[in-house]
Amino acid sequence: MSGRAPLPQVLIAGNPNCGKSTLFNALSGGSAHVGNYPGVTVDRSSARLRRGTQDIELVDVPGMYSLTASSPEEQLAVNALTEGDTKAVVCVVDATTLQRGLYLALQLIESGVSVVVALNMMDAAERLGLRIDTERLSELFGAPFIPVVATKRRGLDALLVALDEALEPARGSQGATVTYPVELEADLAKLIPVVAQWRSETPRSQLRVFALWCLLSLGDDSLRGVPDDVRRAVHDIREDADARGRDVDLEIISSRYAWLDDALSQACSAEEPGPSWSERIDRVLTHPIVGLVVFAVVMFGIFEALFAGAEPLIGAIESLTGFMQAQAAAILPPGVLQDLVVEGIIAGVGNVIVFAPQILMLFLFIGFLEDSGYLARVAFVIDRVMKGVGLHGKAFVPLLSGFACAVPAVMATRTIERRRDRLVTMLALPLMSCSARLPVYILVVGTVFAGQSLGWFSAGAVALFSMYTLSVLVTLAAAAVIRRTVLPGPAPTFVLEMPPYRWPSAPILWLNAWRRLRIFLVDAGTIILAMTILLWALLSFPKSADVAEHYAAERVRAEQMAASEVEKAEALRSLDSQEAAEQLGNSFGGRFGHAIEPAIRPIGFDWQIGVGIIGAFAAREVFISTLGVVFGIGEADEENKPLRQALRDARHADGTPVMTPLSGISLMIFFLLACQCMSTIAVVRRESGSWKWPVFLFSYMTVLAYMASLAVYQGGQLLGFG
């Protein structure tokens, strides 16, 4: 934005599941800009809309049931209303659950802001046989009620006309005066002068509503920026009321609902509709047996898609990255610039976009589950299990996705409402054994357990199975511990609306998945790219001129000695690999590997594995290619026979082999538990909104991994293994 005056804002508010975002997308035509609210990690979607001669900014406020707030995240809407340049609010109400939706609309209208009520899903309400007199409602509430069907773009023109009128100067909502008990009015009279000092710019007419908001919100909150004298006044009033056996919360809320019940009795048919389609679907989908089967099938489908379905796309992106690297290498002269472009920048961009398929897939799935209403049922079905470790039922899908990749899984935690629950899930799920760990396990198993068996099973299969089981147990244990120590607080409550089943709209699913991907590419991608370049520098510098000279001479010698072209090429390739190994050993990363050897020797590793672990920070599977370079083999994958042989042949200074079954298990456990993944760090930074949490994540996982490997390796040696 340039230095121009901020645009007048129109907020789109409403309950969760009321179709608010659909309406926002319909009005904005998908041209939304997604940013972050300052200080909290809640998406702020906004779009510029031209109305007549002026532009307005349409802002999609997070779904809420009430303006009452107890956390900074819930405070957003109130702040937007009172502090922003809000000129009007479109309150979206699901016509099939009028009372609850209108509770929010009533609060907005009470606050004096200009409100237009969009009665959404009128078609569904009609099918249920609900008769709603919108004209009568408009009169009673003193705000226009416009019937719309956001998914079919019906009623949008009328809504915009009403919005234009609402935007005219000096328009506000009039009417809708709730009668509160006399005792409460006396409390308000006491509180309003205190609030007036805090909110000196707030018009007098709105102070009363603000005082009501304070009475209802303050006390057990974690809100920011509320002055102490307001808190004290609210505290005194509530204490006095308690002493007289009054319940202030109940008085305020029930007065509003009483007003609503009265208004609705004048404008709507009263009979409760018969069993709906949703009811019938739910009889199947939450059936004790069928429900669990459907649940398992859906979850397996997601898992399979992320784990296997994304594989060809990921492979294609990796091939493309390789192709680009080869092209750049051919164009640029050999040297530092070429290396920077090939191994730093192109590799870094590749490291970012390689996540795109899984992120898109997961968010298409989650979007489908959420918009169809099934995600609430997933939480309903599995909450019993999640409750045991202090997690919310909605943590299940992110945890499961963690088996494929922690990056989209961390992003998926945003379906969990409360910040604390979201953080616990985000901090535990990187312990799920993701698909990038598998190549490491396979390399280790192929190196130390080749051909061995345990009873009927191959030793490698048992080791792999143990890793996956261990990862689930450790993840759940970590969640339970983090919830009790680092993020203590009330256990998550499970108050979850079960929205009616609805068929999701494909364009909106795509739009949302694409927005999520774009946020990842921009915010987390920048960090990943920077870290890739940093890692490249660590493993490439300083370059030893002596080593380069030595190998240059060796090459000349080899060219003279070779009997044939084939032999010459072979000798040169071998020299290249040896030089790369020596240069890597000499680099900052190599020196660091040597430096940490005394620390990793007790868990069974040597400096070469240490260098591999440093390289693996780019992504766990990079461990293997780094080892390929360390051992002078060149490019290698987990099935590479020379690499396995080199690992078997590796010896500690005292002549004992580095890789034994015991050190192999220690290595697998280290990879299972350590946060060897800069992309996870980057995405946790993005989703938690601060560096504090990724630093904590990295620290606790590294300590945990080290201690576990130490216990296994030292314990195993004491017991005579290895």
Binding site: R100, L250, V381, R384, G393
Partner: protein
């Protein structure tokens, strides 16, 4: 001892008498329309026995049993 929502048989209509739990939760439930006098009915129990699903004010809400146990109800006379 008056029955709570957690004790209510499936399908039985009842009126909420009081909500006796921590303020954060009671305020949330009240704002979602669960007030003294509001008619509720338990429509479903999750496959693993918890949580339960209620029908209230024309929408469905699920709650854990531990929370439902804090909502005291007076069952309506069965016809």
């Amino acid at each position: 001892m008056r029955p709570s929502l957690a004790d209510l048989p499936l399908g039985q209509h009842a009126a909420i008498a009081s909500i006796d739990c921590e303020r954060r939760l009671s305020r949330r439930l009240m704002e979602m329309g669960l007030l003294p006098g509001t008619r509720v009915r338990v429509v479903r129990v999750a496959p693993l026995g918890d949580p339960i699903e209620l029908r209230v004010r024309n929408y469905s809400l699920s709650l854990r049993r531990a929370e439902a146990a804090k909502i005291v109800v007076s069952p309506e006379d069965t016809v």
